[in-house]
Structures are given as C-alpha cells and as structure tokens.
Symmetry: C2
Subunit: 402 residues, 2 copies
C-alpha cells in the first residue's frame, strides 16, 4: 500500500529558517568559507600523532569525556594554557578552559548563557556572518560599530555605549575580533585595546573576544589578548584550531571566569566534544605547533599576495583593499556601481563563489559594493583564474572594471 | 590595580539551568552513563583505520565538510545505508542520512525543528534522562506511556492519543526506543511495532525512533526499525556509534524524509561534525563492524550476568529485575521502602554512583524505588564489589536488604 507522504509542515513552529537546499558540490573557484591551504596541512604529523596517542591512551575512548571531565581532554587544555600565556599574554589554567566543538559551539554557549530575545549587543559593523546570523535568529539587536585600519573605532564605541545608556539599555556584550578582524583583517593596537577595556569597565559591559585568526598574523606577533589585558574578569574568550590546523576537525576553546563558565557548562549537554580530534590535536600541537605555524603563515601570505596582484591586474582601480595583516581573506571594495549581492548570484553561473559584503555586515548600505575573498584553499593558479572569471562577470553585469 | 571581579549575574536571562559544579573525577564504582567496555574497544582496528584513511584522504581535512557537504562524510553515510538496510530493514540512501555530533545533537535538531514552548509529546514513561530533560527545558510536556515486557503499551498509547485529541491537542511526536529500551532493556515485537505505526498514522502524529542500543541485542537479531516498517515517511530515526564503537567519539546519525531533514540542516549551524572521527569510523566499520559486534555483545552479556548474580547475592528478594534483552544497563526495582534519590546521595559517600529511577522516568512515584545500573565500563570484580558496597549503604539507610 502506498500512501501520501506524511506532511510535517503543520507541525513546524513559526520562525524556523528556510529549508536548506540539496548540496550540489563546491564551485570550481570557491572564495568563500574558512577552508585552509591543503598543502600547509601538517598531515604526516597528524598521522603520527593519531598513532601515538591512540596506542597510548585509546582505551579511554570507551568513557565519555576520556576521564578528563566535561571541560575536555586535559592534555589539550594544558597545551592551550601554555600557548595562550606565551602567544596572547593570558594568565589562565586548564581549569579556565572549555574545549568546544569548533568555536561556533563557543558562540552558541555564550549566546545562550547571556542573551534573550530583545537584547542588544555591540559588534563590529563589518563582521563574521555566523556571529551576525546567530544574533538575528535569537531576536537580539546587533548595533554595529564602524571600523578603521586599527579595528573597532573607540570614539564610535563610546558614542554607542553612551547612547544606549541614555536610553536605559545595557548591552549584553561587546563582540570583537581584535586580532585579524573578519573580514577587514585589521589588528587592533595595544593602546586601543586598553581604551576598549576601559570603556567596557566604565559602562559595565563584558567583552566577548573572538580570537580565531590571531595565530595568523604575517609577522607571527600580535598584541596581548583583551582577556590577558583585563584585570577584572569581564572578558569571555574563544579560539579555534580550524585556522591553524584544519577546519574539518571542529575543535575550538573557550576561556571564561568560572562564574559564567559554570553556567555555560550546564547548557553544554552534548556529552563532550569529539575525543579523537582532541587527542590528536594535543599530541600534535604539544610537540609541533610552534614549528608548524611559520610554514602556514608563509603559505598564506604568498596566496594573499597572489590575490592582491590578480585583483590589481584584472580590476585595476575598480577594486580597493588594504594589504591584510594576516589571515585567510581579503575585504574588497569595488566601484560604487557594483551590487555585491547581484555579483554573487551572477558569479555562480561562472563557477565562482564569493561572500557578498551585505552578508558580512550589519550595515547593508556600507557593504553594498564590498566582498570577502578567501584565498587559502585555492592554488595560486586557481586564484588567478578565479579573479579573472569574476572580473569578466562583473564587467558584463556592471561595466566594472571599465 | 586589582578590582572586584565582574559580576555576570545581572546579565543572565531567567530560566537558565543551575551552574555546573567543578568536576572532581569519577567514583570508584560508576554504574552511571553510557560508558562502554574498554576491553571490547576495537583499538587496533581503529589505529589502523586512522592511519589508512588519513594517509589516503587527509588533505580533505583542510576543507569544511571534507568535500562531502553538510550531511557528513560520504563514505560513512554509504556504510550506514548498507548497515541500516541489512540490520534494521530500512530503505534509505546516503542522501537520507545526516551525520550528527552524537545522537544527542540529533535529539536537539529534531526538537528545535518540531517543538515550541507549550507543546505536548508522547514518550515512554521510564525513559532516557537526556530526552526527558531536553523536553522540560524547552517547556514541552512529556506525557508518559507505561511500559511492559514488550515496550510501550499500545492500549495506553491509544488512550493517551484519544485523550489528547478529545482536548484538541495534537502531540508533536511519539518518542520511543523500541529496541533495547532505555532503561527497561525491552525489545518491542514486530506486531506491536505495526500497531504503534497504525495508531501514529490514524492520529496524524509522527514517530521519533531512537535506535541507539539496537545493535546490542544478545542474539544479534532485532525486529525491523519502525522507520523501515512505515510506508508513508512519518518516522524520524536516530542512531549512534557510542554504544557499538566508543562513546567518546561523539558520532551519531539521523535519518528522515527530506521535507523535514532540510529544515534540520538549516539549523545545524556547526560547520559540520568532527571529520576525523567520521573518517576513522567509516574506514573501520566498512571492513570490520559485523565482525566486531559479536565480540562486544558477548562481553556485555557476560557483565550483565555478573551484575544479576551480584544483585541476587547481595540484595536477594529486595531487588527485582527482568533479564535484559541486550544493552549496557539493568533497570532494578528495590523494595518499596527504598527512596532511590536518597540512596543515590548516600551511595556517593561509598564511592558508588547509580542513576536514581526518578531521573529516568516521567512518573516519579512509579520510579521511586527503581534505579538504573550500567555495567559495561566496570570489570567483573568491580561489579561484584560495587553491588556489595551499594547493598551495604542501602541496608544502613533503609534496612533493605533485610
């Protein structure tokens, strides 16, 4: 007997996002997503680490949490405590660190612990799409703070804080990616970090610091994290191995005072994050992280240069951008006539994928002709060809470049 | 300058669960949690699988989703399509399967897609704590359906459905663990499965089938899954590798019609589940799963027997239980005078952890003197010693056993 398929539609609550489409594969020239350089993946090291750690400790996989408890594999937290002290000036111990399933779970844990419908948060005007979308889905208002070449503008932040205070509103946090900001790739200097923290303290608003790209400055140096500069525990910090080792591993980390960490742990009801990935990362990174990073940075820098050269060649003056200070993406401003959302759609026809600016900003007008181009996953040749293909589409659609 | 630590309390929304306590390690005799038998973990096979799959395909780790798209690693979904057809009578392809971060993420995806505050669902009266707690946190009413030795009672299910219909209420789903029910370890026979599906169809209520323990029947045989028996796509199915391979891996799977799968995919905003674990599982299971399972079942059965013998020896007639049909836990009824919640607290002092019945039931009175004892992770000797220690505590607290 065949009956009509069951109709789930009447059972769905209001406000669900639209249905996903079937996945049809990646486009040939994919300038989107945080994918990394496959040639810079430390594959031999990961293979050796997997072998060593599994033979030594694999039996603990039969236990949820690997005998390390709900905050994650102890050896990985020990590595992170050392790394965060050395690289980011953070004084924290393994007990202050929670391993998460990617930094995205960290975003969710912070949001679900602090936010409710109707809340307001401050956020860099051009910002990571995943952070913006999460806020909108929760019914939270993201107030955008404009950026300049040193990151979030402190005068604008102060004005926004004062304006909200005048209205009796206390924002739930100031969200910032101070080190290799996404998408602008700026690095906030020390003086501005201090000023930001002073404003946060004065207005009684905590800081939510997203440090996912901080290991990828070209120089290998970076100012201390806000978490490390604060002296009264008002910063929640997240980081990730996605950009330094491999995005598919889905391992991130969260550092926070116990008063709020203990609330986040209570809503982390996933029975722990993936143990095998934590074990392999701890084993590999404890021995090799500091040797791996310079090779990765060098590979990424070379691709950033290739992308900038391709843009100059194919777009000329129609594409403006600052030389990024690190990372895996370039934030590009095209001529005012270009509608990046339309360009995004037209480019798909040429097998080119880009991130249109309005999806990476809370200010649609400001971002209208901007786009984010990720360069890590493509080869140098693909970058050249992809930019040429994009220029051709853009010329056909908008007469730009002329 | 030292300032007072920042106070997050005024920023927390109402309704958050209580703060978590610091983890202080596992008790000596831990009869809780879905931990598995460390001696039955196929460690050599997993080590070899990790080596082989990483050397062959490791470069894809540099890409979110491993070039397999958002539904998860293709080779693992291909394995599952074959396995689910062979073992559970399910006709599904890789396109119908979503890999999740443990079956717990599957629970969350189903709940967040179908439920909203004020909804009602039907659920086995004694049931997995994680499922009950998720419903309560969402403000959803779980209506408990009593169990007998064949699982959820169909007469009671029909009465509940009719009663709700009379009140104008359409429950969002019927949640059931039909094969090795948690905690009763019953297996629902085929005839009752057919009857359950007929009721679900008649009342227009979908079925949510949790099949996490189904590979662990002692016989190695099990009736077809409800998903496989339904002919009009009203069943959502979840499964897991936690009980068959290793709980710390955090890999589960969800099978559902595209009409509802596409809505769940839209809220799975985690950039994919852990790739390394998916790759290792696919590599190992495709070659070895069917050879591994009988060894695991045999080890678990032996421990179940040890636990039942220990209980008979130390509790005598004060402990009643049915011989479980599979799995990793035993559902025990102690004499009426025993308050399982009090026993749970007292036992902690003797380094024994148990799951008190009221936490595994929506009927506190019915479950008052019951407890769930997980036996997979302890050695035979630890089972003997742990039960003896528990009996001593119980005697001191309640005069039971006499």
């Amino acid at each position: 007997m065949t009956t009509a398929p069951f109709d789930f539609t009447p059972l769905l609550p209001a406000g669900l996002p639209s249905a996903a489409s079937r996945w049809t594969g990646r486009p040939k020239y994919d300038f989107t997503g945080g994918n990394n350089d496959p040639d810079a993946l430390p594959l031999d090291g990961l293979v050796a680490a997997a072998d060593a750690v599994l033979r030594r400790e694999g039996r603990t996989l039969s236990t949820y949490g690997l005998d390390s408890g709900p905050q994650g594999y102890r050896a990985l937290r020990d590595f992170l405590a050392v790394k965060l002290k050395r690289d980011a000036g953070m004084n924290c111990s393994a007990d202050d660190i929670l391993i998460t399933s990617g930094s995205l779970q960290g975003l969710d844990l912070v949001n679900h612990t602090l936010l409710e419908r109707g809340d307001t948060v401050l956020i860099e005007e051009d910002c990571y799409q995943g952070s913006i979308n999460r806020l909108l889905r929760l019914g939270v208002t993201p107030v955008g703070i404009p950026l300049d070449r040193e990151g979030m503008r402190i005068d604008a932040l102060e004005a926004a804080l004062a304006g909200l205070k005048a209205k009796g509103l206390r924002p739930k946090y100031i969200y910032t990616i101070p080190t290799v900001q996404n998408p602008s790739a700026t690095v906030m200097p020390l003086a501005r970090r201090t000023a930001l923290l002073k404003l946060a303290a004065d207005f009684g608003v905590p800081v939510f610091e997203d440090d996912c790209y901080a290991d990828l400055t070209w120089s290998g140096h970076r100012p201390p994290a806000l978490y490390g500069l604060s002296d009264h525990g008002n910063v929640i910090y997240i980081g990730s191995f996605s950009k330094t080792i491999a995005p598919a591993l889905r391992v991130g980390y969260l550092v926070a005072p116990w008063s709020v960490m203990s609330r986040m742990l209570a809503i982390k009801t996933d029975a722990g994050s993936g143990a095998l990935e934590q074990m392999v990362l701890a084993e590999y990174c404890t021995a090799h992280f500091t040797r791996h990073l310079p090779l990765l940075r060098k590979a990424l820098r070379a691709k950033a240069v290739t992308l900038m050269e391709s843009l100059r060649e194919d777009f000329g003056a129609a594409a403006e951008f600052d030389d990024p200070q690190g990372g895996i993406f370039l934030w590009v401003k095209l001529s005012d006539g270009v509608d990046a959302l339309k360009l995004y759609k037209a480019a798909r026809g040429a097998d080119v994928a880009i991130n249109p600016g309005p999806e990476w900003s809370v200010n649609g007008a400001h971002a209208r002709s901007r786009l984010r181009l990720c360069f890590a996953n493509l080869s140098h040749e693909e970058i050249n060809q992809g930019v040429a293909a994009l220029a051709e589409v853009c010329r056909k659609e908008f007469g730009v470049p002329g």
